[in-house]
Amino acid sequence: MAIKIADMLSKQPLTFIVTGLFLAAWVLCGRSLALQEHQGQLRAQIARVNDSVEQALATIASIQKLEQEADFGRSEIKRWESGFPATDPLVWLPPRIKEHFSHYGFAAPVTRLDKVQEDPELLHYQRYYWRIRLPLDERTADLRNLLSAVGEFEEVERVAKVIDVAIQPDPLNPSGRAAVITVATLLRN
């Protein structure tokens, strides 16, 4: 075979060179095409990985935003709660209620804790229900005064929410009447 090629080279060198060049070009073209195909695959893979990284980054950013919102909410709740003593509300709320209603002429408001409710969705918090009894006398019989006092109560005592108001016979004074106000407060344990 080697002798045949040497013989051909000596007899038809141009043909041999042209054939050689053609073969070389053919091999290079084939290699080049293979490379191009491989590059196409690499580019597709890069695009896929890039997309998944972008998606993951977007998801991470959205969760980081949630984290920021939670931090803000936490600080807002803390700020709001800093306005109230951290001790038992039985100790500090009734005197504050008494003080508020005294300003409106209700001399002897009686506040008692009606019930305390746990809320399974709000761990560490309890909902307290208070019953405030305001005996009505000649001076306080005008219920405008009561309406003002109760209307302002939620403004002054931001922790309190008036749940209901009723005028009832006063159990301690059969001839008299009393306003009974139910108030709810949501407080941390």
């Binding site: 290699r31 409710q117 931001r158 209901d164």
Partner: protein, 172 residues
């Protein structure tokens, strides 16, 4: 052609390097993503809890409604009885019942005006029209001997259905 091939090989090598770097980044981002994804349900629960606490604390109770009554009740209206309650059978709805005496030349007109003014003042807080449920001239009112038109009296009861957004009220 050799140069062309050499360039293609260089480009191929660059793409491989880019892919390798990207895969390394993807691995690092995946770890962060897993951590963040695990935290997500806890954060959502925390946010929902925070929203509920804030909503419950900021949603007004009866106070704004009672302030509206004061704002529209003129000097010719005397409020004698108030019952403000949530309706247990209709969560989110409350009923204010105001009874009293109206004094003046036209007690019926005054009571109607009071009801209409109250409706206007309460606006969106109303879930239905306020109702003048009861109206009755008093004995010492229009027909009482010796009484002038200016001192006519009548007893009235107005019922006002309002919306209450307080979750605490619903559970009570």
């Amino acid at each position: 052609m050799g140069i062309w091939l050499w360039q293609a090989q260089a480009q191929d090598a660059a793409l491989r390097a880019q892919l390798c770097a990207l895969q390394a980044r993807s691995a690092s981002v995946s770890a962060q993503l897993q951590e963040a994804t695990e935290a997500r349900p806890r954060l959502l629960a925390l946010l929902s809890r925070q929203k509920r606490i804030t909503r419950e604390r900021t949603a007004p109770g009866w106070a704004p409604v009672l302030r509206s009554v004061i704002a529209v009740a003129g000097g010719d209206i005397q409020v004698e009885d108030i019952q403000a309650r949530g309706k247990p059978q209709e969560p989110g709805v409350g009923e204010l019942r105001i009874s009293g005496v109206v004094v003046g030349e036209s007690p019926r007109g005054t009571a109607d005006r009071f009801r209409a003014d109250l409706e206007a003042k309460l606006g969106k807080a109303l879930v239905a029209n306020a109702l003048l449920a009861d109206f009755a001239p008093r004995d010492d009112g229009p027909n009482a001997p010796g009484k002038g038109a200016a001192s006519r009296k009548a007893a009235f009861t107005i019922v006002v259905p309002v919306g209450l957004n307080d979750p605490a009220a619903h559970g009570h």
